[in-house]
């Protein structure tokens, strides 16, 4: 049987791009990772061809066919490589809960978080309040579990872990302590970092710290 060709187009700091990457690592699937140069807005011809509608990473290309949207990619990976490390729970209601909260993360966490790139200092306060509220909600969902998936690291952990890499940066710009507000989430993040799939792919938090300044400079905010 011919070997699968799996290519992943991503961006090193992206909270979304890391999701299919961790999924592939958990499943021990061989893949080729290609970095897109997003800060200079030099999107590759392949990216524009494979995701013509949104022109965004991540794009998973499996035997030449593109799959777009990070959470859709994680489900696809889970369905295609069923023999190892199941990422979604097997119970339909628990699956629904995982999907619901992953969707919540996409709807509610990204917007206030990205304000550090584009908002002037005096507008950050409202974004900070939103961010804390969302993280506290997620802290409630986690509770005292090891992972959001319970004993098993899975879909919802993968949905959130990319943001964990940004925590020190959020704390710098928003001026609050995530550890103080959401200690369980921080504990969870530390546990996830013990996993090879996360340790190998989560970007260096110090490098992330430099990004907002770079983006704000390019946008002429500072």
């Amino acid at each position: 049987m011919a070997e699968d060709e799996v290519i992943l187009l991503g961006f090193w700091a992206s909270v979304f791009g890391i999701r299919p990457r961790i999924a592939l690592e958990e499943k021990e699937v061989k893949y080729e990772y290609r970095e897109e140069l997003l800060v200079g807005n030099n999107k590759s011809p392949l990216l524009l061809q494979m995701n013509p509608i949104h022109k965004k990473i991540p794009v998973l290309i499996h035997n030449g066919k593109p799959i777009c949207e990070s959470l859709i990619e994680v489900e696809y990976i889970d369905e295609m490589w069923k023999d190892k490390a199941l990422l979604l729970p097997s119970d339909p209601y628990e699956r629904a809960q995982a999907r619901f909260w992953a969707d919540y993360i996409d709807k509610k966490l990204y917007d206030p978080a990205k304000k550090i790139h584009i908002t002037k200092d005096d507008e950050l306060e409202a974004a900070e309040k939103d961010l804390i509220e969302v993280l506290k909600m997620l802290e409630g969902v986690l509770g005292d579990k090891t992972y959001f998936g319970g004993d098993n690291f899975g879909y919802l952990d993968i949905a959130l872990i990319g943001f964990y890499g940004w925590f020190p940066t959020y704390q710098t710009y928003f001026n609050f302590s995530i550890e103080a507000e959401c200690p369980k989430i921080v504990g969870w993040g530390n546990r996830c970092m013990q996993r090879d799939s996360v340790a190998k792919t989560l970007p260096d938090q110090r490098k992330i710290l430099e990004l907002p300044k770079l983006i704000r400079q390019r946008l002429g905010i500072e």
């Binding site: 509608i53 499996h62 066919k65 799959i67 777009c68 949207e69 859709i72 990619e73 489900e75 696809y76 369905e79 295609m80 339909p92 209601y93 699956r95 629904a96 809960q97 999907r99 619901f100 969707d103 919540y104 909600m137």
Partner: protein, 226 residues
């Protein structure tokens, strides 16, 4: 499998998101109790209790456990009641269907809202984005009777509001984007879709839909004035 009669659906007849769930349940022959919510008082105590995060319809309650968000509910219904499958079988086709569902609920829906609520240049921008969306959906339906193939499936259910509600969004929103000459395949799909008996029997009255949309416009105007 034992027939479950413990399914409740909280929704409104005019809501495009509620209707998706009605269609999925009916297509699978699942009995349910419809607990009608009032559009004008959208957050009843029961709704807030069952959907504390968003306080919106639809909410499904099965076996005493509640779920919200129509896309999440549809996946749950498919997995719990595999009879008459609505999703494609092939994983790539499933990913593609999910992608287009997000597109319809994301970019396309936001464009329609912009065209509906805005005026002047912003309105024109919204209409342009709607037309781009219709063009893309035309590309997806070419050569097919339904998005699901010969029978209606998941993506038809998601796109379903375009077949009936959209014309009233245009009418009350005072814009025009749908054009049977520019989007002939989509136009044909619309006719095929609303003729499916389960769909036809569930469509709310035009006047009721228009009244709801006028309500949205009035509320927006009031908010803008304050």
């Amino acid at each position: 499998m034992e027939e479950r009669r413990d399914v409740k659906l909280l929704g409104t007849k005019e809501s495009i998101f509620t209707q998706r769930i009605v269609w999925a349940l009916k297509l699978k022959g699942i009995d349910y109790a419809f607990i009608e919510q009032d559009f004008s008082s959208r957050s009843s105590p029961l709704l807030v209790e069952l959907n504390p995060v968003y306080k919106m319809v639809p909410v499904i309650v099965h076996d005493g456990k509640s779920l919200s968000e129509s896309l999440v509910i549809l996946e749950y219904i498919e997995e719990t009641w595999p009879v008459n499958p609505l999703f494609p079988v092939d994983p790539f086709e499933r990913a593609s269907a999910r992608f287009w569902a997000r597109f319809i609920d994301g970019m396309f829906y936001e464009a329609a809202k912009k065209a509906f609520f805005s005026s002047g240049e912003a309105k024109a921008e919204g209409v342009e984005l709607v037309e781009e969306g219709l063009h893309l959906l035309e590309g997806q339906i070419i050569g097919k009777k339904f998005f699901g193939g010969e029978k209606i499936g998941y993506l038809d259910i998601i796109a379903g509001w375009i077949s009936y509600w959209f014309q009233y969004i245009e009418e009350v929103g005072e814009f025009k984007a749908m054009d049977s000459r520019k989007y002939p395949c989509l136009h044909a799909w619309i006719n095929n879709f609303i003729q499916v008996p389960i769909i036809q029997q569930s469509l709310p009255k035009a006047d009721d839909v228009k009244a709801v949309y006028r309500g949205f416009k009035d509320a927006a105007a009031l908010a803008a004035a304050n």
